[in-house]
């Protein structure tokens, strides 16, 4: 047994009061049923079980948020695409493909976030507003984490480009200062704005040199006296070497250039070039990577990871992925300065900087209220071949475990269950079993829904489930007196026993009413007639009636006899068949040949002989009379046919 990583969160079931009534519970696939019991109630016996309630407690709450359904549906498409794309490409293009997939996932999160933001703005209900706002911040945190994982794990950026990616990451996610920037830039005279230098600092901290220089040039033109100082700073900023994305320069080359530039900055600072302007002096200190100078701008950075990236930019631009952990840890310590303890988001990001992938996934599973994020991220990382070595002490591997959890959540939703199917499909070990168990529990309220579920089962050769669904539908139809539908369903399931049952119902109806219902179906059975003996008999018997109706008597007679002699007809039905033979025996022209008549007689005798004496006595007079009439008709027919056949042979 492993230790618990975190205290399990306490969940209050609204309305349930464990102090008044003891609660019991039962596990479901993705939820828990909690109900109040009568057990252990002290004293108050009066009133009886006034209101015993059952509560459904769900783990994966987010599944039920309307706006998030977009996220689930759109990402489902990306997930399926990723599984299909499997291994087509090798090396670089495969990596590019995976990065693209990762970006697609992020763009879905972003789109969803925008929708949620819109919803938050447009709603007037304060409770809803705060709920939406919470969701927006959760989604934004998810995107932040995902983006970092994309840079570090999926793309696995090397020293050099790594810093550029991290800069992009910070620029994209630290949006708090955007408003300030907009305000200053849109003011009539930006350089006179009180926040002017703050904006310049923001640009410098985020490495947006061009924008910073642009602003500074405006200020310079307003201060002709110190134009020289501005020119020097501008020059420094222009000359700052940055790692290149292509292969145009080697790391050593870059480091050398950077060293030169660094020394130049150092010189200007020491000879007091910027001493007259504290703002510019502090910018120069930042360019030099002075930690205290950077930390002074804490408010402009807002987060420790911004501080980390700024610090790297100005002191270790060629940081290697594996060195990140040291800078990350010290940056966090410096930034938080012991004032506040790290929050879950900080711990997750720190784990990512430390390349502890499993820790990231674990922390996310604990912190987030949905399985969506970890399931998709883990799957993507697995496709990057980063998770293979890790096996859990339960279930299959981590990817599969998380996908199963997520898909089970989807299946517990009344509408999203269809998405779950594809996730189960891509869980090689337990997916099939999960799907089998879940799919049988889908409520089937219309035939169309049943057909959709059936299609899912048939595509996966889940014969047992196909049979069970068809049987449910056949039973429903039978209960609704829709014999035709019921028969169609049992034919589809190839369920012989049920087809026999329904055929018996048809025959019973016929015996009672003297005519067939649902002729359109019985006349068109085709090869499916062979499914069960009784169904064959039903079809053939109906064919007899058709032949008789069309006055094709000899064919009808032959078929009738065949039904008995080949033992297609159930014995209980022989009397009806023999009675059906009566009008044929009484036709003006002879229909049954001598041989056929003998066969008929034998059938009749078999039938009467087969019954014990006791049964015979129980039979009413009608039955005895029928037998007598048949005997008479058979004898008369035999007489006529002997004459006829004799005459024909004689002639």
């Amino acid at each position: 047994m492993e230790e618990l990583d975190a205290e399990p969160p306490l969940m209050v079931v609204p309305g349930a009061d464990p102090s008044a009534r003891q609660l019991c519970f039962a596990w479901g696939p993705a939820e828990v049923l909690v109900c109040e019991t009568l057990f252990g109630r002290r004293g108050s016996g009066e009133g009886g079980p006034s209101s015993s309630r059952v509560f459904v407690v769900r783990r994966d709450q987010d599944i039920y948020i309307q706006t998030l359904r977009k996220l689930f549906n759109e990402s489902h498409g990306i997930f399926v695409g990723l599984q299909r794309s499997e291994e087509e490409l090798a090396g670089k293009s495969r990596k590019a493909q995976l990065v693209q997939v990762s970006k697609n996932y992020r763009s879905v999160i972003r789109a969803c976030m925008e929708d949620m933001h819109q919803a938050a703005i447009s709603t007037r209900d304060p409770a809803l507003h705060s709920q939406y706002s919470t969701q927006v911040s959760i989604l934004s945190a998810m995107e932040l984490i995902w983006n970092l994982c994309e840079i570090l794990f999926v793309e696995a950026a090397a020293a050099g480009p790594l810093l550029l990616r991290l800069l992009d990451w910070v620029r994209l996610h630290v949006c708090d200062v955007d408003n300030m920037v907009r305000e200053v830039l849109s003011s009539e005279n930006p350089s006179k704005h009180e926040l002017f230098w703050n904006v310049v600092d923001v640009f410098v901290l985020q490495g947006r040199m061009d924008e910073a220089r642009h602003l500074l040039s405006k200020e310079a033109s307003a201060n002709p006296a110190s134009v020289n100082m501005y020119k020097i700073l501008d020059d420094l900023m222009k000359k700052m070497p940055v790692p290149s994305l292509g292969n145009t320069q080697t790391l050593t080359e870059m480091e050398l250039k950077w060293q030169h530039w660094h020394e130049e900055c150092q010189r200007y600072l020491q000879d007091g070039t910027f001493a007259s302007n504290s703002h510019m002096e502090s910018i120069c200190k930042i360019l030099l990577g002075d930690e205290d100078a950077i930390l002074e701008k804490k408010e402009l950075m807002t987060t420790w990871y911004h501080f980390l990236v700024t610090r790297l930019l100005y002191s270790h631009p060629t940081v290697k992925p594996m060195e990140l952990r040291f800078y990350a840890q010290s940056s966090m310590d410096l930034f938080l300065g012991g004032e506040s303890s790290p929050e879950p988001l900080d711990t997750i990001l720190m784990a990512a900087f430390e390349f502890e992938m499993h820790q990231v996934i674990k922390e996310c599973s604990i912190a987030l209220s949905n399985w969506w994020f970890v399931a998709h991220l883990t799957d993507l990382l697995d496709h990057c071949k980063l998770l293979q070595s890790h096996n859990l002490y339960f279930g299959s591997n981590m990817r599969e475990f998380l996908l199963l959890e997520y898909a089970s959540g989807l299946f517990s939703h009344h509408s999203l269950w269809q998405l779950g199917v594809d996730y189960f499909d891509h869980c090689p070990e337990y997916g099939r079993v999960y799907l089998e168990l879940h799919i049988e529990r889908i409520p089937l309220n219309t035939e169309q829904k049943a057909l959709k579920v059936l299609r899912i089962c048939e595509q996966r050769q889940m014969h047992e489930q196909v049979r069970s669904i068809c049987k449910i539908m056949a039973m429903k139809a039978l209960r609704n007196n829709r014999l035709g539908s019921a028969l169609s369903w049992s034919i589809r399931a190839k369920d012989a026993a049920f087809a026999t049952l329904i055929s018996d119902r048809f025959l019973k109806d016929y015996c009672e009413r003297g005519c067939f219902s649902d002729l359109d179906l019985i006349d068109n059975l085709g090869p499916s007639m062979l499914l069960s003996d009784r169904l064959t008999f039903l079809g053939k018997y109906r064919e007899f009636h058709r032949l008789y109706g069309e006055k094709r008597f000899s064919e009808a007679a032959k078929l009738l006899l065949m039904l008995m002699t080949a033992h297609i007809a159930p014995c209980s039905f022989w009397m009806t068949l023999l009675t059906d033979a009566l009008p044929l025996l009484e036709q003006k022209e002879v229909i049954f040949s001598a041989e056929q008549t003998y066969e008929l007689m034998r059938c009749l005798e078999d039938l009467t002989a087969g019954k014990s004496d006791k049964q015979k006595f129980q039979n009413d007079d009608v039955e005895t009379m029928k037998v007598e009439m048949l005997r008479l008709a058979l004898a008369r027919n035999l007489a006529r046919v002997i004459v006829k056949e004799g005459t024909l042979e004689g002639s």
């Binding site: 620029r171 061009d210 994305l245 359109d520 179906l521």
Partner: protein
């Protein structure tokens, strides 16, 4: 050496992802479509090409079972701008009216502003099984509860209201003789007449202005009726779950079909039916196995041609209302096909290139084409038909589609609606 700054990243991810959801979507789909087009050139089955570029997608957080364009007034020249959708399998199903903006709003760089905007919606009890516009304002909706409802769309204040309702128009009489609703699976309108069919095998004829059914045929079919269409003003055609087409003459009082046509042998259930808009004897049906069948109801009891199509249930088939050489089908397998028989034969290089085949073209173009519809020529369909799959990366079922003029709308189980307004561009 490049100037200071963030460096020439190929495309900062932030920029691309800050776009509106639909735009980024479109961009992705376009890329997919291009890939396909490069891969599958040649052959009669062309992969999705340029047409895909103008598709707008919107995720709507409900599984869509039906999409229908609002019909245009007789003299209208503009393309349709309003459509209705119905959802299924939700705890709370809805009928929604959407508008697609002016076509003129195509921004610079081909960016398209035409994402569907929700105008109004209303709760609907049960799954929406079928839906038809009765006229410009009224929509007839068939429910899985057996109820048929007429909703009115008030265009002045953009609201929807229930205008007329027939409770339990379709029902089962079970063994305890209590009535339970049976799903109403199909509805067709010919203002003011409304015909509905259901899982109970019943056919109802309503008039929009009358409270009670004008006519009911109980037990019209022993199996489930899946769809219905008008053949003429007095004749309807139904398809059922044992592969039969039945023609009913509503003038006759007999409760028997006037004609039964059927697929031979395997009794594959038929799920949808549509009649050729100009030649009323030509009928197309789609089956459970995804097969498209073309029938000539004047002759024979069997289909004229069976065309292998989708891999799963074909949910809807539609002739283009004004350009019936084009046909559209959609399926459970997540594909939507455009069948085009309008290929101009005279332009094709004749016998020089294609040897034996060209003679068939020749004979058709000279003798038959003006008389016999392309759909009924029994042999050369394979050569002459161009089939395009309009959805390259299919996953979940496309439940419904509708076409009007140059516009196509379709809805899926992946909770998205798609609008393509330049189908023939």
């Amino acid at each position: 050496m490049a100037g200071p700054g963030p460096g020439p990243g190929p495309s900062p991810p932030g920029r691309a992802h800050r776009r509106a959801p639909s735009l980024s979507l479109r961009a992705r789909r376009r890329a997919a479509a291009n890939q396909q087009a490069r891969g599958g050139a040649g052959g009669s089955r062309r992969a999705a090409g340029a047409a895909m570029e103008d598709v707008c997608a919107k995720f709507v957080s409900q599984k869509i079972s039906k999409t229908r364009w609002r019909p245009l007034p007789a003299a209208a020249l503009q393309p349709p701008d309003l459509f209705a959708t119905g959802s299924w399998d939700n705890e709370d199903n809805r009928i929604s009216i959407w508008s697609v903006g002016e076509l003129g709003n195509v921004g610079l760089g081909g960016e398209y502003q035409g994402e569907p905007q929700l105008l109004c919606d209303i709760r609907h009890n049960g799954d929406v099984m079928d839906m038809q516009f009765l006229d410009q304002e009224r929509i007839v909706v068939a429910s899985s509860t057996g109820t048929v409802t007429v909703f009115r769309h008030h265009q002045n204040n953009q609201t929807l209201s229930a205008n007329q309702r027939w409770e339990k128009a379709h029902y089962h009489v079970d063994q305890n003789t209590s009535c339970g609703g049976a799903a109403c699976t199909g509805v067709i309108c010919n203002n003011p007449e409304i015909v509905t069919v259901g899982e109970d095998g019943r056919i109802n004829l309503f008039r929009a202005d009358q409270k009670d059914a004008v006519r009911t045929i109980d037990n019209a079919d022993s199996s489930t009726l899946h769809a219905v269409t008008f053949l003429r003003t007095t004749e309807i055609l139904t398809v059922n779950s044992i592969g039969q087409l039945k023609i009913w003459d509503l003038r006759q009082q007999r409760n028997e079909p006037s004609q039964i046509l059927s697929l031979t042998g395997d009794r594959v259930p038929l799920h949808c039916v549509d009649r050729h808009p100009n030649q009323q004897h030509i009928v197309a049906t789609g089956g459970q196995d995804g097969m498209l069948s073309i029938w000539d109801i004047r002759q024979g009891t069997m289909p004229v041609s069976l065309l292998n199509a989708h891999e799963a249930e074909m949910w809807e088939v539609h002739f283009h209302p004004s350009n019936p050489d084009h046909l559209f089908t959609c399926s459970e397998d997540g594909s939507l096909w455009h069948w085009d028989t309008s290929t101009d034969i005279s332009e094709k290089p004749s016998f020089l290139h294609q040897g034996g085949r060209s003679t068939t073209y020749f004979s058709h173009s000279t003798i038959n084409q003006s008389v016999v519809s392309a759909w009924l020529s029994n042999d050369p369909t394979k050569d002459r038909m161009e089939i395009t799959n309009l959805i390259p990366n299919q996953t979940l079922s496309v439940n419904s589609l509708d076409i009007l003029g140059p516009c196509l709308v379709y809805g899926t189980d992946a909770e998205a609606i798609y609008v393509n307004r330049q189908l023939f561009a």
